[in-house]
Amino acid sequence: IPNAMVEVYSVTVDCTVASRFAHTVMTSSAINKANASQEIFFEVEMPKTAFITNFSMEIEGQIYVGEVKEKEKAKKQYEKAVSSGQTAGLVKVSGRKMEKFSVSVNIAANSNVTFVLTYQELLQRKLGQYEILTRVKPKQLVQNFQIEVDIYEPQGIAFVDAYGTFLSNELLPLVEKTVTDNKAHISFSPTLEQQRKCPGCDGTLIDGDFIVKYDVNRATTLGDIQIVNGYFVHFFAPPDLPRVPKNVVFVIDRSGSMGGTKMQQTREALLEILKDLHMEDYFALIPFDHEITPWKNSLMKATEENVAEAMKYVRRINDNGGTNINDAVLRAVKMLINDRKNNNVPERNLDMIILLTDGMPNSGESHLPRIQENVRGAIDGNMSLFCLGFGNDVDYSFLDVMAKQNKGVARRIYEASDATLQLQGFYEEVSSPLLSEVDLRYPDNAVEYVTTNHFRQLFNGSEIVVAGRLSDNDINNFLVEVFANGFEEDFQVQGQASAMDWDVIYPDQEYIFGDFTERMWAYLTIQQLLEKSKSGPSEEKENNTAKALDLSLQYSFVTPLTSMVVTKPETEDGPGSPLIADKLTEEQRQQAEKTSFYHRTHAHYPPVYASAPTYFVDGD
């Protein structure tokens, strides 16, 4: 917070990545230079895929540490705090990728405070690279400002790029990058003068995202298996595989609510996507509102003529009427089944449906669980369903569950000028399957508590990660096999996993951040349990939720089931009230965005109405 009487004298971001598992520590120190006590704020942003693991405040030598508790228990403390007029809740949504953690404390005159926030995440490989995103907004010039990123990848580093959205030509050379075979170090540490917006002014140039992108070498088809401290992790992304052609049906919502920009962006994205189809692919278009009107009654080969004709058709798709998701998806399933039965499509092509919708079904079947049931029954494990939820009014969890029930994934498309690119980006991610029905096998007598080891697809540019625990600490190697369906022939590979000695690979590195393989296993397990707890029989859901909660508590991860409780120091007014840091779910994020959208748009109103009260009556 810009305040002349508060000097932030140190801001450091220290990120260490060991085998894709990133551990970030954000530290900020400030001094209250005023003659009276005042509130000092600490506000940082972190990726929404990260789990907070630690938070502490040091005030006058006294350290206040956050404690991870079961959410329900923390909630009770929270309610007490709210009823006594205190505020709580430290984590809020911030854009598409980030979450904001903010806390404030009252600091005595001429006293110091140091805030330290730690979070961990498994970096996901997308389109051939991993991304470490750090958002920095110090708001004032800082004596000691430093971003340090260390990457340790035993497989070897293929490339590293580092840049910042705030980096001018003058600041760019200050980014130092050292890359050796399996280690990279990136640092950025501008002086007070270099941070200054202009000579003599107090404004800082440091405001935005600092991004590091990298990839690792992939020498073997089996992938890389690392055994460290009794846990193993298998990274599987074989190089040089031919892509599998696909049969893809695009089911496009053109109901009234898609009118305007959304429809326009959908058309633009579809035109680009059609251009990207490969000659061996087959495709169909099923636009729908309350009526389902396929472009053709069967899938068409992506020949130049067919694609050109489809593009003409796409340009004419207009919004109108209600939303019948149920019948539209069932129509797509039926089309794929019929075309297979009639041998209209090649046998080894992979079947997929891509559903794009912006809202709730209000025509035909509108009961969401029944739609999920109908779709699951019709698909019956024979094809993948990918769902794109466009805008804020879509019930994302409905689409998410439906996609997961049918070997697919869901993605939110945010209403913004780049929606076309978001749609294309998602398509790019899922449109190039390299393998299907990937089965990674490990000997039962050697490993236990293995994370999901069967994957419906492996997409180009992504990576499959499986982790587990060794059943016996003395095991130093075991057999690993991978089976999958590839293009034209089956994919089968086997090899030996051997324990790694990090001390040998990184002799100068005494300590990275402890038991990272074990924590990576815990992170993956919790994520998968949370996914599973969204669907399936209720007993299974409860079981998975309970297991995820246990692990979250055991490993001190702030997940949607736990909260971090931070007790503020006592003040003259009495004992400090607890503050709660939560992990938001996708639904909560969406809800928060709806609210912030409302406030944001109000800023554009003519001033006379912006502050005037409004009284109105309208339809529900």
Binding site: S83, K594, V608, A612, P613, F616, D620
Partner: protein
Amino acid sequence: PHFMIELPEREDSLCFNINDTPGTIFNLVRDPTSGILVNGQTIGDKKIPPDGKINTYFGRFGIVHQSLGVRLDVTTKDILVSQDGKRVKMLWSDAASLKGANMDLLLTKDRSLTVTLRDSVKFVILLHKVWEKHPYHQNYLGFYTLDSHLLSPSVHGLLGQFYHGIEFEVADLRPGEVEEKPDATMYIKGQALNVTRGWQKDYRWDVKNGENVPCWFVHSNGTGLIDGDASDYVVSGLF
């Protein structure tokens, strides 16, 4: 229909629903001093939807300014303006801008009618166009007061009673039936009401989707928030 009382100074809003049989006429604003009267008549759906829920909306508004001799009859089809014995009929498919000595009208085709009555009130009526072949729903209207500060302290009605602000406190936040919608206790007019944090739509800026406005929802037709109960605002005629 849902009623919304936005209180920007408190960065908060209050809301409630009032439902009655289609055809009921409610008084929304009555200011005896300036001679302003706004009444609204509800309509229902074309037929009862399969979920059996009877929805009502405003389908017609009658607005009178006695001192200025102005009368407006706004339906989902057309707008009838009478002033000093002269009558003008406009269709929602028109676009029009009328500037008079006592009244300004701005009709945006198929969307909104903004009315400014000299030295008294400014409001907008929105037309919600529903897909013509929709099996259940039909077109309806929304009424938004934009400026009411010139009305007298005696102004009343379902909306009018709030034009001069309202005092309330909210405390005892607790989990509600739905996780995202906590309940709380609202202290208002000497009573404690159970209220729920929710959202209602403001359609002024996006007539199709609306924008969610977070508000404290008062249950049971606004009982406890409004003076008397909803039936006290039922009137026999539009004018």
